[in-house]
Point group: C2
Chain length 443, copies 2
């Protein structure tokens, strides 16, 4: 049900869910089919399915005009299958819903997208998953992943722990793709000594589009969750086709395209594995992963979200760097090249060094961590003067090949444990979850 | 000559350039060969060549200890060839030096690296360039490119104009690689209606290492500068081998690896061309470039450096976004996915929307521009609610496929021309130098 205000307006205009309507708001006009209210969503946001197949929501206020255009066909909800028999010869996997477009299925009468989180609903949408494993399902929250916070990471981590303690054979997390790599990094630090696989999966195209990647990704992630790779990983399309997914290491993966189905890429390492579809076969690309076994999961979910991720660029202002101490207890600098910022060692009159500002931050107890804005490659702060000066003042990260996003999450996690600068440096430079790659792994 | 203080100390210890010495500073020890002072550099920075082949500089103060280790061989400077005959059948190219490791050659007696910017020095280092074109050279400044500012971009643009007005057939800019793509974007906007090629070139490995890429890159850039591609472009290794370089469009190129020789990649477009080495042959990959002709260069170098490039991530603080108005006259947001920030359309209690903060910035006359932190792909702010809300408050960039760095530089350039919000939007969304790619060019 929408809000009373919206429901009354719809009633007065004799508009029903499934009807074709026009919404007008500040010179913009949207024609489409009125959809049911999105579960857990703001009840005053009116959802319509546009002709291009996308669903949008318009928040209702006095500036929004609604007009009836055409009568829709009556909606028939498919009955959910109520009892699915458990196959004792198969492993049991738990799918936890954290939002995103993957966790949805289409009601074809109206084209409306419904969350499909009960195990029965899931198997109704994707019955072929039953061939791989017994499936349990639970919705944690429904959220676009750009709205995710460090608290959501904790909720996920604690629920994974609960599932693992209940004896589950693997966990799949359905997640929006925008910040999936931040979450996978956070869980990699929070879930230590994992006995089973924890696989994040999402979709780049919503399930109501023919080109959706949700079935392939979900199938491959189920294969991954039943494998012996007891790591936090991300399972997404490996190519623009539908032939395979890659299983990426949680601390070494990044979304590298706004829209392509193979947007996620492993950075500075190979993926753990390639999972063939529809063969459901796993091809291992690495052997250096934590294997499935009887060990006890250690939950370590302390985190401090007060960390800034700051890009450096030509013309960056020292006074802007100075101001960061007001907002953050730790800073990650996405530096240029091998790990550089403007330092003016050769006294160019035009350049404004940010070195004194960074030094002040460090001296006031705010750790400064370097990460490469090139994304790929390893920092080396021994080669050029800027890097050496940053080393001298205590910037952390020399010789690390971590992603800016992973360095950010690791500093948040580290600051959840200690405020002691020596300890912070020690924790940051100790490899916890493969975030600092071995030199020999890849060129 | 070093500073008087340094020279006196060296004299007192009977240390000469070329001698092997030990420098000690704050628990760090460096052994290497004392090199001559870096031209234009801080005279109190002592340069030594380490055993690993790298040169470093240590700023001298009372905490620096110097110890004589071993006598060096006497230095013999090779005489520069004084007259190079101009070949009237060949084009004449001007090489402007802007710093970086490419613009150097090794004096093998000491291993010292010298700037080699006079045309004669250049041809002495790379005599094969003469087979391609007549070469003129000039040093503009000597700078690590992480220290580059918007004023340096203007100095370069004005000097290119001077060369073009003098009738030169092409310009090569030797430049550090850290921020080469920021400079190439800036010059693409500043140098309009180009009659000849302007090619930026750098090296990922310093010239005193066997693996240096300077000869191949410089040779290929000379081929590019004599071609009919009258665009601002970047010429760098196209693979880890030495077989070819790519010629990248100045607004669509990015350093994507800290150290690899093929670190520079075209994003969302093909490179203009592939240049084969040592064949010096150009293979055109595109036809949509500005061709060499008799038109008059229009210099448009107005710029406003007060622009912030701000990453969004889980947990970003609204009050941090609020504070940006103190430092910047324009903001580029590197958003997640298709162009998103936390907006909490579904009223999650944990999420803190930054939408009101962005709205306040815009209402106070500070333009906010969106760019994708995924690097690759095109923004689409019509699909999800976060994008639509950002559109509604006037965030600029929907449907653009620009790089965050290029969007930053374009906003700096635009704010050099106008403070009028309507005009800013219009200029930003008008394609000036290919920064907004055609939908049909690449997947």
């Amino acid at each position: 049900m929408y809000s009373t205000e919206v429901e009354l307006l719809l009633k007065s205009k004799k508009i029903k869910v499934g009807d074709r309507i026009r919404l007008e708001k500040s010179n913009l006009t949207y024609d489409g089919i009125l959809m049911p209210r999105i579960e857990l969503g703001d009840p005053s946001v009116i959802s319509i399915k546009l002709d291009n197949g996308y669903n949008i929501g318009i928040k209702f206020d006095k500036n929004v005009k609604i007009r009836f255009l055409d009568k829709g066909k009556p909606i028939r909800f498919k009955p959910a299958e109520t009892s699915v028999r458990k196959d004792p010869s198969k492993q049991t996997i738990s799918i936890l819903g954290c939002g995103g477009t993957i966790a949805s299925r289409v009601e074809y009468t109206t084209g409306a997208v419904f969350p499909a989180f009960s195990p029965d609903d899931l198997l109704l949408s994707f019955p072929s998953l039953r061939n791989i494993a017994n499936i349990k399902g639970k919705k944690l929250f429904e959220l676009f992943s750009e709205d995710m916070t460090t608290e959501h990471w904790q909720i996920i981590a604690r629920n994974v722990e609960k599932e693992v303690k209940s004896g589950i054979d693997g966990v799949i997390l359905m997640h929006g793709t925008d910040t999936m790599h931040y979450t996978s990094a956070a869980l990699s630090f929070m879930l230590q000594s994992l006995p089973v696989p924890v696989v994040l999966v999402g979709a780049q195209r919503s399930s109501d589009r023919g080109s959706s990647d949700n079935l392939v990704n979900l199938t491959c992630s189920t294969v991954a969750a039943t494998s012996d790779i007891a790591e936090v990983s991300v399972c997404m399309h490996g190519s623009t086709g539908d032939e395979f997914c890659y299983l990426h290491q949680g601390t070494k993966v990044r979304k590298l395209h706004t829209s392509r189905r193979d947007a996620f890429q492993s950075v500075n390492v190979l993926p753990f594995a390639k999972i063939l579809y529809p063969e459901n076969k796993i091809e291992y690309l690495r052997t250096d992963y934590n294997k499935r076994d009887k060990k006890t999961l250690k939950l370590d979910d302390k985190i401090n979200s007060s960390v800034g991720l700051i890009y450096t660029y030509p013309g960056i202002k020292p006074e802007f760097i100075d101001s960061l101490s007001k907002f953050f207890e730790g800073i990650v600098i996405a530096g240029t090249g091998l790990g550089h910022v403007p330092t003016t060692p050769f006294s160019d009159k035009l350049t404004r060094s940010v070195l004194p500002s960074l030094k002040n931050l460090i001296n006031s107890g705010i750790p400064v961590v370097m990460a490469p804005q090139t994304i790929f490659g390893r920092l080396d702060m021994n080669i050029y003067t800027s890097g050496r000066l940053l080393n001298e003042i205590g910037v952390i990260g020399n010789q690390c090949d971590w992603l800016p996003e992973t360095a950010l999450v690791k500093l948040m996690w580290t600051l959840g444990h200690t405020k002691d600068m020596k300890k912070i440096r020690e924790m940051m430079l100790t490899n916890v979850a493969g975030e600092i790659g071995n030199r020999t792994v890849i060129g």
